[in-house]
Amino acid sequence: MSTRGGEQTRRSFLAAAGALSLSALISGCRRAPGAETDEAEELPEVRLPPPPVRGAGRHAGARLVFYAESVGIGAAIDRALAQRFARDTGAAVEVVLRPRDATETYASYLRLFQARSAAVDVLSLDIVWPGIFAPHLLDLGEALGGLAATHLEAAIRNDTVQGRLVAMPYFTDFGMLYYRTDLLQKYGFGAPPTTWDELERMAKTIQSGERARSRAFAGFVWQGKAYEGLTCNALEWIHSYGGGAILEGREPTINNPRAAQALARFHRFVGTISPIGVTGYEEEDARNVFQGGNAAFMRNWPYAYAAGNTKGSRIEGLFDVAPLPHEPGFESSATLGGWTLGISKYSRFPDAATAFVGYLCSPEVQRFRALVGGYIPTIPAVQSDPDVARVLPFLERVRGATLVARPSNQAGARYNEVSIAFYQGVSKALYGTDPEKALEQIDRRIRRSLR
């Protein structure tokens, strides 16, 4: 997982560099074939052999192009799995590294689909993309429906658009509460907070105590910058307040008093238990503060767990995770992240592609990816596998949280607009706009986008 942390930094850095010129838009196409060779040598070693392919049949003559992860262990694993599939079925699989930056990947997929291109067969898709690209993706329900039934229900619901299973979950991610075990103990708190009130109280106590040591110490850090990450964070707050999940079908439900209370609380956090700068934080900003020993609590994705426990980390062995807090009477909520796999409708080898996706999403491969790369399986049975539980010890601790999907499935092609309207409105509320007004505006913008 630590590789994905590194990828985050590189990603934002590349995004920044790309912003300089239009090259960001073009590089999506340009890096396709050549990139494979010039980065191949740097890939980390895959420690276990990939599991054999079972029941996929022979696919000699099929030529598949797979847009796979581009850096670190993820790229190495994807390559190893593709080779194994090719050996066991006779199909040729070309692994193309997708652009590192998700927005760039998104833009190149748009162009490929616009051109109805057969140049790609299997695509790795961010979890919010199946809804957007659904018209261009193959329905996998008939071939892989049985396998899908073994995966997390929330993930399958996310990948089912208007009754069609257009993608299969590859790995999952979710928000968790990180807390400092040593500091909780030092200030006499026996267990991590379960409600937001408890979190606020603990953070306040620890912060005022620790400020004597370091003036920059923060009670609670999270992702408050106006970007997709804020959509993930705010969805958790609002859902854990009983304020719904932005849309119900295609109808916005966001303009409600419970959501307003959630936003009011987080506005209050800014400048009290959270640094004012938190409204500019992404994942890595929050992690740097927490891992530097300068925060008591953090909301982040699971990648920060492995990163925090690396040798030389200041908080190695001094932190643990728990489900995110909630309001009394409501559920702890975790926004669903991760990536899925889809097949292009314009593929010339749909059968081989389906067999390949079936292999990549099988319990054996999920287990392999968890053990080798730390990727979180989307099959509950694999999550409970003793070897997997040893590698991903936090899974068991956050099992109580309800997984909430972003409304990408309902909003379809308009998801980005909905998300931008949502996080920009939330950002305004964090900066002091009256929450009710901000929600009203979000509601109005979403309605305009979806009409």
Binding site: A16, A216, K225, P275, G277, G280, I420
Partner: protein
């Protein structure tokens, strides 16, 4: 007499033919450049104009339709666009003023002869040479409220403030933070442009002024400024153009923060994130028009003064 007259006539005819031939040759030499310009500038511009009159969306199932001026009608009621317009113009006015004032000061200093002058001139260009996205990221780290160097100095070393300041997140300091980066980066460029202009001014003029008993201030306002006008116009036009199109500083520093969108970041959001090519093209065209207005004003102002 008549012979000379006809000779002159003939001569005139010859020069006429020569001029026409020269013009033809000139056009022949110019045509490749014109073709290239038409391809890389005119064609995209016209295409953007055309797209702005349609409802084109990338990834949409339905074919694009011609919608007339409705995108522009939406634009004038779009609060986000108007906010971005206001912020961009405000940013452009402030940064260009600061850069011209500072640039002129630095140019005057560098115009004097001193040891190591060329080394100083070269060193000055360093901020200009670093890609903006990279230097903005660097400044963002320096501005950081937890580990940034500014807060370390302000809070821990000097003790001027008790709480760290979140320069880029606090709405009261956000714009100033962006202005500072832009001024830091482009002042050297303005200074060098003006320095080149200064060095074209003949030294004898200053000597004559001194002989006539003019003060240094008089020499500056009567000789330096008027003769520097062409260089100032070039610097002004270049900087205003760039400032009105500002993208990287805001994109890297503020992302999609709604109160910190410039025209260019707003166009990027609509074109790339939302893939609404029709409306995004209308925003791009609007940027072009705003810049055109500024240029027309500048040129008119400087013409009138000269006449």
């Amino acid at each position: 007499m008549s012979t000379t007259a006809s000779g002159a006539e003939k001569q005139g005819e010859v020069t006429g033919i020569r001029a026409r031939r020269r013009a033809r040759v000139a056009w022949a030499f110019l045509s490749p450049a014109l073709v290239v310009t038409a391809f890389v500038a005119l064609y995209p511009l016209c295409d953007t104009l055309y797209l702005s009159l349609t409802n084109t969306r990338l990834g949409s199932e339905e074919p694009p339709r011609f919608v007339g001026l409705s995108n522009y009608a939406e634009l004038v009621h779009d609060g986000f666009f108007l906010d971005a317009l206001l912020l961009t113009v405000f940013f452009a006015v402030i940064t260009v003023m600061l850069e011209l004032a500072l640039g002129l000061g630095i140019a005057l200093l560098l115009d004097a002869r001193f040891k190591g002058r060329s080394a100083v001139r070269a060193a000055m260009l360093v901020p200009w040479a670093i890609p903006t996205a990279v230097s903005t990221q660097m400044w963002k780290w320096m501005y950081n409220d937890v580990y940034g160097v500014f807060n370390d100095v302000l809070v821990n070393r000097l003790g001027l403030v008790s709480e760290p300041i979140a320069f880029t997140a606090d709405p009261r300091t956000s714009l100033a933070a962006a202005v500072l980066v832009d001024v830091w980066k482009t002042t050297p460029f303005v200074a060098l442009l003006l320095l080149a202009g200064l060095q074209l001014i003949p030294r004898e003029l200053y000597e004559a002024a001194r002989v006539d008993g003019a003060t240094r201030l008089q020499a500056f306002t009567q000789i330096t400024l008027p003769l520097l006008r062409p260089a100032l116009l070039v610097a002004l036009v270049f900087r205003t153009l760039d400032a009105l199109r500002v993208f990287d500083v805001f994109y890297v520093m503020f992302g999609s923060r709604p109160d910190m969108q410039t025209l260019a970041t707003y166009a990027h959001e609509i074109l790339v994130s939302i893939s609404d090519v029709g409306y995004g093209s209308a925003v791009s065209t609007a940027i072009f028009l705003v810049i055109a207005v500024f240029i027309v004003i500048y040129v008119a102002l400087f013409r009138r003064r000269e006449a």
